[in-house]
Symmetry: C2
Subunit: 222 residues, 2 copies
């Protein structure tokens, strides 16, 4: 494996996948520190950095976070399985593999050596879409770039990881468990650890032609 500092950007971005089966082996302090430093490099509105991350390694706290995740996950998975049953075989197979890995994560989340809990403070953000007649997302522009840096750094360090947001459904309980102040919210939990299976690798994504347009919606990018 390449040394983390030698991993190339395009190689990292094109092979960072959701890795949901993790070994319990600890993450060395220096490795964790490099991952967290990568997070700090993310851009934020007016460079305010209105986020914090709690690296949870305490066993009891990890178990609590697993409980808070597994309940909502089981409800979600049930609905998703019903959806899968109506899909064509080709699509269904890939989705079922993902669901299997996600089920594993839900039952074993506390076994990951570190759960990274990302918090944000909306009062420190200029949320330009807060007044629109649709759900707001712009607050995320000052925290998910940091989360993406985290995932890429994990890839460079050989650590599996995946971005989850299901803990928002029990945000009050998560905040209580980790003593998070009232004015802060929880926006992501990223379990990290060394992969049980293959880890990062090829990813399946839509091609540029499907995702990008030229000058106007729907106009192919030539």
């Amino acid at each position: 494996m390449s040394k983390p500092e030698d991993v190339r950007l395009y190689d990292a971005m094109s092979t960072t996948r959701a890795v949901r089966r993790l070994k319990p082996d600890p993450v060395p302090d220096d490795v964790l520190r490099r991952v967290l430093q990568a997070a700090t490099w993310g851009p934020t509105g007016a460079n305010v950095q209105p986020w914090r991350v709690i690296a949870v390694r305490d066993v009891a706290k990890k178990e609590r976070l697993q409980q808070l995740y597994a309940g909502p996950w089981r409800r979600y998975a049930k609905g998703h399985q019903a959806l899968l049953d109506s899909m064509p075989d080709g699509v269904r197979a890939a989705q079922e593999r993902m669901l299997g890995a996600a089920n594993y994560l839900a039952e074993h989340m506390h076994e990951a050596p570190v759960l990274l809990v990302f918090c944000f403070n909306p009062a420190l953000m200029a949320i330009t879409d807060a007044g629109l007649d649709r759900v707001s997302v712009v607050g995320g522009a000052s925290v998910y770039p940091a989360v993406q840096n985290t995932l890429l750094a994990c890839r460079a360090e050989g650590l599996g990881c995946t971005l989850t947001t299901l803990h928002c459904l029990s945000e009050g309980d998560v905040k209580e468990a980790l003593a998070i102040p009232d004015e802060w919210g929880v926006c992501a939990v990223v379990p990290i650890g060394y992969p049980l299976l293959r880890g990062h690798g090829p990813i399946s994504r839509n091609p540029v032609e499907k995702m990008a347009y030229a000058d106007s919606w729907g106009t192919p990018l030539s």
Copy 2:
């Protein structure tokens, strides 16, 4: 300069800054394509990829987007300048440099060769914090990782870039100008182009100690 494919991840992440003064020189098609492909590699909830990007190079459309940006920017900058006047000299100097560059961007946005307009569809997202008694951000978890990949790819390609969200304040007009369907929103505009001055380089961020805790809010990460 390194070839884009040789740029290392940690080098890219630690030197990707907001570059707001851009030359009008065109971005070659193959370069733009690599930047957009990097965007497609971003993770999204259930791998649905509920975002699209419009690469705006048309002069009239860029001028329209500049107009829609400059008005709100001038109002914002006025308030920000008042805030600066009350800051200690050391902090104020850096903030004033940023404000100067941001003023430049607002007046010259249409001169950038490409404006990347990121759109998202909330109906394709499972937004787990939509029911909370705080502003929602989780929709951003399925689009800003792609935006961050875009910024990092720009860095590797030697392209200046910066993440802006002020167009949300005139989302209806932006959607009309670019024929964006009703059910899609606009979540970021990233002007890209070759830097007029130094471009990417050293960034100023809080240290890990300030941003990361161990196990509970406020507990130092040893």
